[in-house]
């Protein structure tokens, strides 16, 4: 099965987002894949505010079943999000649970004017009423497989399929 080119999708998203940039626009990427994508988009769009990075480990809804994620990164949002038009960036949109957790965490930092979701790929399978405002591509993923963004030593982004980790 052929996966779309991540680098191409990036360029496409940049073109789409350019028209959306306003004085209150700021970007936040979700660890790990979303942070890579956000770093790329943030640089290409030359956004004036520094990039925010979030790890939603403390807001996940499966903590009681699976425990704490092993290596949570520190969330760093170096600007006041109140009144901002936020671009929330993740690599793959699937059940919507990560985005729900991210929005919960964001509201502990302030009250943004708006949040738009930017993803490289949407693989369907939503379990919550969440959709992406900016989506690079829709990708069908066979069951039992996981779609992930990878970054190589030369900072090149690629999409890859791998078996889902046993829960």
């Amino acid at each position: 099965m052929k996966l779309p080119e991540a680098e191409q999708l990036c360029a496409q998203l940049v073109g789409e987002l350019k028209a959306r940039i306003g004085p209150q626009t700021a970007m936040i990427g979700l660890y790990t894949g979303g942070a890579w994508l956000a770093e790329r988009l943030h640089a290409m769009l030359r956004l004036p505010e520094p990039l925010g990075l979030m790890d939603i480990a403390f807001y996940r809804d499966d903590y009681h079943a699976r425990g704490l994620h092993h290596d949570p990164k520190r969330t760093k949002i170096p600007f006041d999000i109140s009144g901002r038009d936020l671009l929330l960036v993740d690599d793959v949109l699937y059940t919507g649970r990560t985005v729900r957790a991210a929005m919960n965490e964001l509201f502990d930092y302030g009250r943004p004017a708006s949040i738009s979701l930017v993803v490289l790929a949407d693989r369907g399978g939503r379990q919550l009423p969440i959709c992406a405002q900016h989506c690079g591509a829709r990708v069908e993923v066979p069951s039992g497989m996981r779609l992930r963004l990878k970054r190589d030593a030369g900072d090149r982004l690629t999409l890859a399929l791998e078996p889902e980790r046993a829960a």
Partner: protein, 316 residues
């Protein structure tokens, strides 16, 4: 081989009873998780929803202000419900056994027991008898261990010095009565600190302390030479039943940390103290309030470390 009572079948932390015997990966996991929680404690909303609906029982069979308060703050910042029991004034004085007390609290649907007890091993006894979904965190047992204090010391050292493998660390004072010293020594050796020194009079050093992998000094000036980290311990008057020391003044003369003695350590050395401090007994005020002291940051980091410990054990 008998399983470590702190770890579950997958090798994950289920109870925190002692730093001794914990693998390096678990210590690093706790310190890394604490770093993320430091980020939370710097926000305006200092709370995350992880332990919503869980009950944390603070069981203090021995008086404590700082440790109990920081556990309470940590649990509240994880959104848990906190119940403080001052057992010294409660059922035990009416003759109830430790395990009966715990069984009653378990019937009230406890999830985490934070236990301080004056007899070594009490948290182990509780951990062996709780239900699988209940977790025990040792907040200090007798002279044995005080793992969250040891972890917050390790966190503080890593924060200021970045790593452990090139450090010389001196622990000074009443090592004999100190569960803090014991926990810290185990943590430092597990994380690869090449030189851990203990400095104190013979009467305040446990016999055979060298077996823990430390160098012993009786002369503080020699012991402090070129240290990166100095951990001052409190002179524990309430634990001294014999005449181990001539007087507090005499102790200060030999083992109190003054500016002159501090100048023998490395220029960027940090000075730590688990509190409460006896100014003029183990530490001079100019040092305690000086630029090398990181004593108050230790307290702040202690909250994040306790959040990390509780959220890790409750999830396993």
């Amino acid at each position: 081989m008998q399983r470590n009572p702190q770890l579950n079948a997958n090798g994950e932390l289920q109870h925190l009873l002692s730093i001794e015997g914990l693998p390096r990966e678990v210590l690093v996991q706790i310190l890394d998780t604490a770093e993320s929680f430091v980020g939370v404690t710097e926000r305006e909303v200092k709370k995350v929803p992880l332990l919503r609906g869980k009950s944390v029982f603070n069981l203090f069979f021995e008086p404590s202000t700082r440790t109990r308060t920081t556990f309470e703050i940590a649990a509240k910042r994880l959104s848990a419900d906190v119940i403080n029991l001052n057992i010294a004034l409660s059922s035990q004085t009416k003759g109830e056994s430790l395990l009966d007390t715990v069984a009653n609290l378990s019937a009230m649907q406890a999830d985490i027991f934070v236990v301080r007890h004056n007899s070594s091993g009490a948290p182990y006894l509780i951990a062996r008898n709780v239900k699988p979904h209940e977790h025990v965190v040792n907040a200090g047992d007798g002279r044995h261990a005080h793992p969250t204090q040891g972890l917050l010391d390790l966190y503080t050292i890593r924060h200021y010095k970045n790593e452990f493998t090139r450090l010389t660390v001196a622990i000074v004072g009443d090592i004999l009565h100190s569960r803090v010293a014991r926990s810290l020594i185990h943590g430092l050796t597990t994380l690869g600190a090449p030189e851990v020194r203990v400095i104190g009079p013979q009467t305040l050093l446990p016999s055979g302390v060298e077996a823990l992998g430390v160098r012993v000094f009786h002369d503080m000036r020699a012991g402090l030479k070129d240290c990166d980290v100095i951990v001052m311990l409190r002179l524990q008057n309430e634990r001294m039943d014999g005449t181990l020391l001539p007087s507090a003044q005499e102790f200060f003369k030999h083992y109190g940390l003054t500016g002159a003695k501090l100048s023998l350590a490395k220029p960027d050395a940090i000075v730590m103290h688990p509190g409460p401090m006896n100014r003029g007994v183990e530490i001079d005020s100019t040092v305690a309030d000086g630029p090398h002291a990181v004593i108050l940051p230790q307290v702040t980091f202690g909250i994040a470390v306790r959040m990390a410990v509780m959220s890790i054990v409750a999830g396993n």
